[in-house]
């Protein structure tokens, strides 16, 4: 179970600590505040600022 609704409920952006949402056909997590996109690699969300990209 990579990213289920309960996990989404408790996850926060590493940068601004606000909620994240699934994007890109459930292959990444995005913070609406700072626009950072955190990749999900092999079902493992990588919640590291260094690994994120900023996408509008």
């Amino acid at each position: 179970m990579p990213v289920d609704p309960e996990l989404l409920e408790i996850l926060a952006c590493p940068n601004c600590k606000t909620p994240v949402t699934l994007v890109k056909n459930n292959t990444a997590l995005k913070c609406a505040t700072c626009k950072r996109v955190y990749p999900i690699k092999d079902d493992i969300p990588v919640m590291l600022i260094d690994e994120a990209t900023i996408e509008d």
Binding site: M1, P45, V46, M47, L48
Partner: protein, 233 residues
């Protein structure tokens, strides 16, 4: 021993010493990049080397958690996922680690064993990306002597644990025996290359992290490791 027995153990009585709140926890300092590098190399043989040796402690920790159906467990430093199949299938396990090589091993194991109650994330133990009070049990197995700042990690563990939840640390700490302790201090700069500091100071760790354990048990053979169980207030 009953879960959360409030008796004073011999070890907790040792939480004395006038400088416990300020003294260094170890003679060895490490950075996240160094630790990640060590564990990238360890990933392929960790289970062979540390698997059987440290297994009794893992089993005792799971037993001590007293996990109830539906409880949310966070394992900080999930590594190769060696604990994953030890949890009851009716709890929800979230495992985090900083090493993607170790996480890849964990992912393979979770898939191989068909563990649908386990999810994995890559993040820094000292900077957990969960909201406050997200878990019933927060557990760090054989992690705290690896990280650059053990106190920062355990503070984060307490933050994401709900009030009344359990914060559990399983680790090797420096022996109270002065001869053993001096050996552990001397070899710490070497053991860090195989993944742990051998001289972590338990009384100083407890004092600086403001942890008040409800039990401290010696585990594994030889009994050089401690299972520290705390209740989040």
């Amino acid at each position: 021993m009953a879960l959360f027995d409030l008796r004073q153990t011999q070890e907790t009585d040792e939480v004395i010493g006038t400088d416990a709140a300020t003294r260094a926890l170890s003679v060895t300092a490490v950075e996240n990049d160094f630790v990640a590098g060590v564990y990238e190399n360890l990933a392929s043989w960790y289970d062979y080397f540390f698997g059987p040796t440290l297994h009794a402690g893992r089993l005792q920790a799971i037993q001590r958690m007293g996990i109830r159906p539906g409880e949310r467990v966070l394992e900080v430093g999930v590594g190769t996922g060696i604990n994953a199949s030890l949890y009851p299938r009716d709890c929800i396990v979230t495992g985090i680690d900083l090493s993607d090589s170790m996480l890849e091993k964990a992912r393979e194991r979770v898939w191989r064993k068909g563990l649908t109650n386990v999810r994995l994330l890559e993040m820094d133990a000292a900077d957990l990306r969960f909201r406050d009070a997200s878990f019933d049990i927060v557990y760090a197995p054989y992690l705290i002597s690896v990280v650059p700042d053990p106190v920062a990690v355990v503070r984060e563990m307490c933050r994401v644990c709900r009030p009344g939840g359990r914060v559990i640390v399983l680790n090797h700490f420096r022996s109270p025996n002065p001869i053993l302790a001096s050996i552990e201090r001397a070899i710490s700069p070497l053991t860090v290359h195989i993944g742990f500091k051998s001289d972590l100071d338990l009384p100083a760790f407890l004092a600086q992290a403001d942890l008040k354990p409800v039990s401290i048990e010696k585990v594994n053979v030889p009994r050089l490791w401690s299972l520290v169980t705390c209740l989040k207030e």
